[in-house]
């Protein structure tokens, strides 16, 4: 099975970094919400 290029980005690594970055941003944002409103 030949591997195709991912859509939008040149490499799958960029997609993986995006997924992990979005996750980290959410964790940080939720942490800040917890600290600000509790």
């Amino acid at each position: 099975m030949s591997e195709e290029k991912p859509p939008l980005f040149h490499s799958w690594k960029t997609w993986y970094k995006l997924v992990l970055a979005v996750m980290l941003i959410q964790v940080i944002a939720y942490f800040l919400i917890t600290k600000s409103f509790s």
């Binding site: 979005v22 939720y30 409103f37």
Partner: protein, 568 residues
Amino acid sequence: MSTLDWLVLFGTLSFIVLYGTWKSRGSNVESFLKGDQQLKWWMIGVSIMATQASAVTFLSTPGQAIEDGMRFIQFYFGLPLAMVIISITMLPIYYKLKVYTAYEYLETRFDLKTRTLAAILFLILRGLSAGITLFAPSLVLSTILGWNIFFTTLLIGALVIIYTVSGGSKAVSITQRYQMTVILAGMAMAGIIAFTLLPTDISFLDTVRVAGELGKLNIVTTDFKLSDRFNIWSGLLASTFLFLSYFGTDQSQVARYLGGKSLTESRMGLIFNGLLKIPMQFLILFIGVLVFVFYLFNQPPVFHNQVLVEQARQTQKGTSIDSLQLDFNRAFYEKKVAVLKLVKSIHDNDRQEIEEAKKSYRVFQRKEDSIKTLTKYSIAEGMNLSIKKVKDTDYIFLNFVLKYLPHGVVGLLLAVIFSAAMSSMASELSALASTTTVDVYKRIVKGNTESSHYLVSSKWFTVLWALLAMGFAMLANFAENLIQYVNIVGSLFYGTILGIFLVAFYFKRVKSDAVFWAALVAESVVLACYFYFYQEIAFLYYNIIGCGVVVMLSAIFQSVLNYRHSHN
């Protein structure tokens, strides 16, 4: 329920079932077990999310937020990481080997007994989970609608059987698109309406600040305790193991992305899930928070399972329950005064007043809690039930929907619950049938016959597993919050299964005998943890324990075997 609600409910369900059956007619064994392998990335992503989001998600999660705040979201923190790891490691191997089920790979890598062990562990875990997946909505809907649980179980089970037996994996993916649309539309509407029902002088920011001050925005908790189920550490570490196993080795999920048009589409489907799952859970939990704030200003019932309360009222405990409801009403009004004071002090930004209001809120909240506890004991005594079985967390959200949402929306929300139940159950039945057919029946019982025979067998296995799940749902009896059971059952087996796969991928020198015996010991260790250390070790850690024991013991066993081999 009005006529409009019934029309919306049955119209939605009939459309999905008939459309799924019609679109997947004439399936061959390939499309029945794997889908048509024509799915685009967004269809795969939706299908993955619909499989995971069962009715329990929508019944229990808002109630979980009301009782325990939003910290349950931390359970999903490991999911994006798991999606990335699966995309890099497991997915290309499954595609390369063109497998029907994940367990086929284990025979290529090890041997038949290891493949069969993993398949059987999966069948036990998924068979039990299918029962819970069906039990949860059947119980709640039967209670709320006043129907017999046999009827609600039969209705959901029969609807799922119709299209799953007709079209298999292909029908599952087709119907899940529409089920997910109904689910998202229904939940968004519930959230918006819950907010509009709040007093007009309470802004969105006030709602958030009140919820925060009263401890419901505890989204991230950083204290580490092995017995604590949900904190950032269990979420990032233990959940990653759980989700690696669930998405990477559980056939109900593997079948979703193996139905992709290409490796690229499947990868994008997993990425889609990795990006959207946490926000989706956040919204569902936030709807729970909105309902919590709503009940700060509107009188809630002392016990949300109204049908059970009504039944208990007919017993000798009726007078005591009525008097407790009156006490609860009085405590609510006293608490409401404290809440209004809290809102005012938030507006004034007066920290000292805020703390005083919170203090007085807590006094009345404790009073309410003790009245609730007394009510539960009265219900338990009146109905001759164990106190553990008198719980109402799973009823809070649906009770709110039925009492306060407008006609039509109630039908839509019930369609959400039914759709979620059907979408998860269909995936589970399809996976149970394909694993039974491919990994057990075809490989051990009857190999090398024409494909039409396996198509018919798969359909019969689908019916068989559906009947088992329905039997389980009709006979089962649970004491805890239902969403916990689904995750506990998964955690009992996922660690061991994941351990087998990790050894297969990363420990090339480990052979079949070592991993097989290591897996048996690991499963015994996990079951021992559950039966003897349930309070001490939170269930999410079973995933790490099971996986860790398989990896370590298989390496040790292999070294011993190598040593014995070299000295013989």
